[in-house]
Symmetry: C2
Subunit: 203 residues, 2 copies
Amino acid sequence: MLCLQVKTDAAWANEAIRDLDSVLIDHAHCELKAASSATSLVARFAFIPEIARALSEIAREELEHFERVLAFLQHRKIALAPPEIDLYAKELRSSIASLPSPGQTPLVDRLLVGALIEARSCERFKLLLTALEESGSEDRELAEFYRDLFECEARHYRVYVDLAVLVATDRAFVEGRLELLAQREGQIVARLATEKARATVHG
Amino acid sequence: MLCLQVKTDAAWANEAIRDLDSVLIDHAHCELKAASSATSLVARFAFIPEIARALSEIAREELEHFERVLAFLQHRKIALAPPEIDLYAKELRSSIASLPSPGQTPLVDRLLVGALIEARSCERFKLLLTALEESGSEDRELAEFYRDLFECEARHYRVYVDLAVLVATDRAFVEGRLELLAQREGQIVARLATEKARATVHG
């Protein structure tokens, strides 16, 4: 799906719907981190108004998603615990930082890391909403929510890739780089899948 | 106005409308910083959903304001330069960090610093919109924008104070603390006014 090179194991969704509370808590933190990361990118790209605006809009949408996850948590009477260390994002960033990266590449990479995280969220939300629907879950609102988010993350993915092309001014370079980064992302996801104690959005 | 203890000198607004470009650039960065700071507070208060939601809404509004300032900058064909060091926010935070602060006070202080910054923005935007109107500026949209923002910042100010009361569970304590912090803020504003080379939203 999208640029992803490693498919999430089907077992992930079963595990996720068995422990939806944990998934929702993790998801709330993911939205906040996505908002915070997009906001910091706005400042980084402030000198290119088209990019700054697109990132600011993404940040606003992530905050709105956070508020929607929060409503589901409140409805389930679950308090949002402090975030755990996000191994997926941490390892993704450090793995990519170790790659040779000439010229503007680090800036392009920041956008492509955004694209990859959106792509993985998109894939996971699709699995989750299918599992929710097939399990005959009564929580139709939650399935609807994940359908909305699935579409939204796919759109964010495309925005991040387009912004990277705008910065690099070279689509072929961006596509090659994205493929390389997606290999790294796939290795991390495959490894974390065997290590994680419970289902999380990305790990 | 609101909790402020030191009034901005009337000369500020004249200086500001003589160099609106600089004010708009500074203003864009202020909105981004406000969004980023509200988003980081959401994570800090994630365990109290009412507070987390209110702060997330503030963050979204700040991003929207940023996008509106960006539109004015684009219309004027001004590129957004990288931010200068924000002496006002830096000195405000370090001045307050030096105060004795028992128990939950540091957390309450973070919200009250938010309140103070909103109060000062509110005061400045009022001065600016009055000056724009009185100067017979043709830029009615800009005056309208600052009227919107003036109202919005006043609302944010009240939200931050209310959230501080919710955390401290003691309105009298919060009012006393706000008065103390506002004294510090006033001293900083008074000093920066004599040092600043050009008009900025807060300094």
